[in-house]
């Protein structure tokens, strides 16, 4: 499983990161180094081993159905790079 320029480009697109063309090769090299290294995991037989879903013995917490949050549109807008009234504003999204 070798990572090439195209793979890096595709992954960067998925991750919404603008990666300049001239960095693709270098990144591919770095990622290959890492993926070659992690390939040692293939030595281990994991047949029948469950994937970890909770690190410690703890049951999921549930909350009661109450309205106790919201009503803070102004506070939400305080950090917004662009907003109008209490809408966040982004460049037009074409459907």
């Amino acid at each position: 499983m070798s990572v090439d320029r195209d793979t890096v480009r595709r992954i960067a697109k998925l991750a919404r990161l603008a990666v300049p063309e001239e960095r693709l090769d270098q990144l591919a090299g770095e990622l290959n180094g890492i993926f070659t290294w992690v390939e040692m995991l293939n030595e281990v037989d994991v047949t029948g081993v469950p994937a970890m879903t909770s690190v410690v013995a703890q049951k999921l917490k549930w909350r009661v159905d109450e309205v106790n949050d919201g009503g803070q549109a102004q506070a939400l807008m305080a950090n917004a790079p662009a907003h109008e009234e209490t809408f966040f504003v982004v460049p037009k999204v074409v459907e």
């Binding site: 603008a18 890492i34 460049p91």
Partner: protein, 489 residues
């Protein structure tokens, strides 16, 4: 003032030998003088003095919480209401949280005073504090005159504690980010059991691994600070429902009969001999105080680091998707449409290491690779956790080195990501298994740089862990201090 620990300052305040205002003012001055260390990103002297005055008023009435009037430094990963929180990243820009993290809220409720927000690797991704958008932090310890890194990601907190720029600090630890910098700056660092401290309001790196903990001058201080940081928090689904024990009280009683496991897989080929020697010495110290030393096996140890470098980036790639320039943080200028806005904002806002990890994480979760990487890594994680369960049938705590070596120079590990990642080789297993780990300063290298030893406990048994840590600390009697080269005065 630099002789104060959290415990002794607390007692001095209670005895009215000093006021919080005096203590706080002295630390504010030290922080200002130590700017060359770049330990703080944001200093909050006005807030600190205000909090100190309130503490003094409470102390005068004989009231006050467990940390009343004690000045602390807060890693800039904890959201602090009304105080800029950067996570060491440009992408958070001028983010001012409208909320307070559970851990810091607990501290303020206990009466603590905030000196400021400490520097860190960007989004806590790093082992040298070189990836911060606010620039690198310097270790108060130097190799002759060569400047060294303080470790990471809680490098600012580590330098602040080691350089006496606060009484104690908070850190977070995802793969060793408390223990590794603590070890190489000569302080105590405790990563509690996963779920002991609430993650609510802490900027997330890898949700199943992140855990906040204390960085202090002594083991007792770690016990005191953890007692206030920890809580039962209904806002964090993964946090524990167990009540918070009295950790300071748990320090009492000694370690007679304590079974200390020495995992044989931690003897790594090519590790510096002084690390192994210190480890042996640590075992002897504990044995001399009545502990029983047993050799144990953690057979999947060597898979921990690669497992970590799949799981952590995968979670991070998703956790960091919210930094999109829409609701907060950095937004690129002159963009053509929404996709361009995302791609440019994120490329401009995230540093290269963060981008690298986002790419790794995106790749291992992507269609066709999920089973080979992420699913396999989560199974390995089960095996790594089982190793510990098995070992704990034979022992109560484990003793290991904390780091593969002492502090290193800036830029020394940055060419090869894998070489940098190896800094976490002894600490990362603990995060994968969710266990508590404690780094205690134990000695100096031949070159005069601090080294630490790590104790690993059973889940939610921080009490035993701290008691063993106290025994180690007492025997090591690490009293070395870095010479102050950073203050102008």
């Amino acid at each position: 003032m630099s002789n104060f620990t959290l415990a002794s300052a607390r007692d001095a305040l209670k005895a009215k030998k000093i006021s919080s205002k005096e203590l706080t003012t002295a630390y504010i001055k030290a922080v200002e003088a130590a700017r060359p260390l770049n330990a703080y990103i944001t200093e909050t002297p006005d807030k600190a003095l205000e909090m100190a005055a309130a503490s003094d008023a409470r102390l005068a009435k004989g009231e006050g919480g467990a940390l009343e009037g004690l000045p602390l430094a807060i890693k800039d990963l904890f959201c602090t209401k009304g105080v800029r929180t950067t996570a060491g990243s440009k992408i958070l820009g001028n983010f001012i949280p409208p909320y307070e993290s559970t851990v810091t809220a607990n501290l303020w409720k206990a009466g603590a005073v905030m000196l400021g927000k400490t520097n860190l690797d960007e989004f806590a991704m790093g082992s040298s504090n070189e990836t911060s958008a606010s620039g690198p932090v310097f270790n108060p310890w130097r190799d002759g005159t060569k400047k060294l890194v303080p470790g990471g990601s809680s490098g600012g907190s580590a330098s602040a504690v080691a350089g006496d720029l606060c009484l104690a600090a908070t850190g977070t630890d995802t793969g060793g980010s408390i223990r590794q910098p603590a070890a190489i700056t000569g302080i105590v660092g405790l990563k509690p059991t996963y779920g002991r401290c609430s993650r609510w309001g802490i900027v997330a790196f890898a949700s199943s691994l992140d855990q906040a903990g204390p960085m202090t001058k002594t083991v007792r201080d770690a016990a005191i600070l953890l007692g206030s940081m920890a809580s039962i928090d209904p806002k964090d689904s993964t946090s524990t429902d167990l009540p918070v024990p009295d950790y300071e009280k748990a320090l009492e009683g000694g370690i007679k009969g304590l079974r200390v496991g020495i995992p044989r897989e931690y003897r790594m080929d090519g590790a510096p001999p002084e690390i192994a020697a210190l480890w042996d010495k640590g075992a002897e110290w504990l044995k001399a105080q009545g502990a029983e030393i047993v050799e144990v096996s953690l057979p999947h140890t060597k898979y921990a680091l690669p497992t970590y470098y799949i799981v952590a980036p995968a979670e991070a790639s998703s956790n960091l998707a919210r930094y999109d320039g829409v609701r907060f943080g950095h937004r690129a200028k002159d963009v053509k449409g929404i996709t361009d806005l995302y791609e440019k904002s994120r490329a401009e806002g995230f540093g290269l290491e963060v981008q690298r990890r986002i790419l790794i994480g995106t790749y291992v979760l992507s269609s066709g690779y999920y089973d080979a990487y992420y699913a396999r890594a989560q199974k390995l994680r089960t095996l790594i956790a089982r190793d510990f369960t098995e070992a704990y049938t034979q022992c109560d705590v484990l003793l290991t080195p904390a780091t593969p070596g002492p502090a290193f120079g800036l830029g020394e590990n940055s060419d090869d990501p894998v070489a940098m990642y190896l800094n976490d080789v002894f600490t990362v297993t603990v995060n994968l298994a969710g266990l508590p780990g404690l780094s205690v300063p134990a000695g100096l290298t031949a070159g005069g740089l601090p080294l630490g030893l790590q104790l690993i406990g059973k889940a939610f048994d921080e009490g035993t862990l701290l008691r063993a840590g106290l025994a180690l600390e007492t025997a090591a009697n690490f009293t070395h201090k870095p010479a102050n080269w950073w203050s102008a005065s």
